[in-house]
């Protein structure tokens, strides 16, 4: 038995070491299409690489925006400035509460906002958070908070990408990477906002009705911790549902339940109900506003903020 346990331990160590070697080999030499559970995409969709580099050097702000793509495509820091607010946008693609918590742990003290405007797309609460974790691992720094996020999500893709990301960062393998300010039709605006060139939405395509809103426990847990953290720091919190096309909003389920849930947590606005926007004139796709829509949405938001 003693021999068995000893051999098992030695084999375990050998396997872990071999695993890292193979992981690095796969990451370096095998094309991304063939590395199913390893996804390390620098500068992936949404300019997260540029955003985090800017956030690291950014000074204190009045408003910090955070949330999913609705946040970094919906809250224009230039419009905030026109209302007299210094702001930064820390939104990222498919960001779920687990990633929001991570980003706040990393940047909240440094950016030290007076107000946190948190875009709460309800279906990020039902998401496993894997996609967003991969985006953040590749494009943000890897620290204890990132490890905690990986344990929370508990998915092999996240673990693999985190381990490979550690290697990339330790050996400074990303130093030559630069992200263009303009990628396809997206332009990164200093402060974290991403402006889309196209201004009109295509024909409306009716999707399927979404399933009943059942948030994952660990997302709810992360959300509660965010609320607690923000309260502890004495930061004003505003929860916002950014507008989507009326056809997309019609596919949501449990809207009353969702509104009731968020309104109990902090000041909450559901702009799908507060604004009357045109699906074709104010959006560039079913989920995201074009610049005309962003202006209307932001004006409405900052007027509410000024009133408060």
């Amino acid at each position: 038995m003693e021999k068995f346990i000893k051999q098992l331990l030695v084999f375990g160590i050998f396997t872990v070491a071999s695993y890292f070697v193979l992981l690095v080999f796969w990451g370096e030499f095998v094309p991304a299409a063939y590395t199913k559970n390893l996804n390390y995409s620098l500068g992936a969709y949404g300019h997260m690489y540029t955003r985090t580099r800017e956030a690291e050097k950014h000074e204190k702000v009045d408003i910090l925006f955070i949330g999913s793509s609705h946040a970094y495509r919906g809250f224009d820091t230039r419009i905030a400035a026109s209302y007299g607010y210094k702001s930064f946008n820390l939104g990222s693609s498919a960001q779920t509460p687990v990633q929001t918590k991570l980003l706040l742990d990393q940047y909240l003290d440094q950016l030290s906002p007076k107000i946190l405007i948190y875009e709460v797309y309800p279906y990020t609460f039902t998401n496993d958070g894997v996609e967003s974790s991969l985006d953040i691992i590749a494009n943000d720094r890897i620290d204890w908070n990132a490890l905690q996020m990986a344990f929370t999500i508990n998915n092999i893709k996240t673990y693999n990408s985190l381990a490979y990301g550690c290697y990339r960062k330790i050996f400074n393998r990303d130093k030559k990477f630069t992200e263009n300010t303009v990628i396809a039709e997206d332009r990164y605006i200093p402060g974290g906002f991403v402006e889309r060139k196209i201004t009109a939405n295509g024909p409306v395509v009716n999707g399927e009705k979404k399933a009943a809103w059942q948030p994952k426990d660990y997302q709810l847990n992360a959300f509660e911790k965010i609320i607690e953290l923000v309260k502890k720091k004495g930061i004003k919190l505003m929860l916002v549902q950014a507008p989507v096309t009326s056809s997309a909003f019609a596919m949501y389920t449990d809207n009353n339940k969702i509104d009731s849930f968020f309104s109990k947590k902090a000041t909450y606005y559901n702009f799908n109900k507060l604004l009357s926007l045109s699906d074709s004139a104010h959006f560039y796709n079913k989920d995201h506003l074009n610049q005309v829509g962003v202006k209307i949405f932001n004006d409405s938001l900052f007027i509410k903020l000024l009133k408060k």
């Binding site: 098992l8 050998f14 071999s18 559970n37």
Partner: protein, 487 residues
Amino acid sequence: MFFNSIDFAIFLPVVFVLYWFVTKNSLKLQNILLLVASYFFYACWDYRFLFLLIFSTLLDYFTGIKMGQSEDPRRRRFWFWLSVIVNLGFLGVFKYYNFFAESFAQSLSLLGIKTNFWVLQVILPVGISFYTFHGLSYVIDIYKRRISPEKNFIEYSVFVSFFPLLVAGPIERATHLLPQVKQKRFFDYTKAVDGLRQILWGLFKKIVIADNCAEYANNIFNNASGYSGSTLVLGALFFTFQIYCDFSGYSDIALGTARLFGIDLLRNFAFPYFSRDIAEFWRRWHISLSTWFRDYLYIPLGGSKGGTWMKIRNTFIIFLVSGFWHGANWTFIVWGALNAFYFLPSMLLNKNRDNLGSVAAGKLFPSLRELFNMVLTFALTVFAWIFFRAENLQHAGSYIRKIFSTSLLNKPDKAAFASTQNNIGIMALLVVFFIVIEWLGREQQYAIATFGIKWPRLLRWSFYSFLVFLMCMYMSTSGSAFIYFQF
């Protein structure tokens, strides 16, 4: 608690350590530990059905003792039938009631009679088909005076409920497992290492091959009407690998886990896709069920001792019952009947025992004839699996019609493979890797039982580590339950 879950990865070492370190000096304590662990394992599935398992265990235990105590044939018959009827009654209610009720209502509606049967809204207790058959074999063996009843309730309960085999077999026999449960067990290094190796291969089959093939198979079977015949052939092939790797992978993990506790379970698979005829396939596929039906149904019915018609009748009965055992759906019955048709020619020509050994034994490659026979048998099996996988007979019919349409000559549809997270090229490489390893190990108990056993340790461990890496790199993150849990 799936074998391929984090929960099991914690549960197994805990039980292992308690078993070999805390209770090692007492067989009684070891068995109590195994029983408690087994009930906990089962309760993790659904604690509400634990009572059913315990009731079934108690019933067979007491009827066994009553049969053993009595010499009166009538009393023995009474206890025997009580056990059989109650056991099959539970199985019938939970598994088959809705099927019979709906089929009967449909038959009456064809005659213009409208009926409204009460349909049970119950879930199938996991493992009921397996532990019912464990118990039945025990009761039948006592009734036939092949074994004496077990007096020790703990030991009998461990035989029925031993967690590695509890939810999907192998279907054990009292003559094989009970003596091991009653015997003092000593830790055997070689056996334990072999168990771990078998678990490793089983996991690879399940989480890399079966689960990834399932993504393609599910997509193609669920959207069959939109795809070409050639795509549907690939869908059937994916399901063929899925079901083998899923079930044999499960069995490997079960057997390997049992070996860690010093217990040998019955072998369930012996490389069935390398069979040269259907009879050989059935000697190599789900062996514990096939031999159960042979011993407790086929032979009592007269086996192949009677005339030709008796042979045909018995063959059909055993295959139809085997199909029906899998589930309450006509697709399983047709699958069983189709296999009976496949089986008949070799049986009638007395060629069903032509291929008893391993194909190309001692050689690297098969002969052309062996290769042809293997491919033909494999093709027949793939065709039969279409019925097994289809939702219903209409689905199977339309699937097969589409295969035998002109679209069979079209290129496979890219859309069928684009909707999963897999890369079809990598998937094909993994399947080829798997087939090569299985082929090289086909004369062993499982594919990697002796693979690289003579290599230097570093090289051998590198191979095992590579398997671990492939699992983590290519496992399906969507995951899926073991197919046979539903049976």
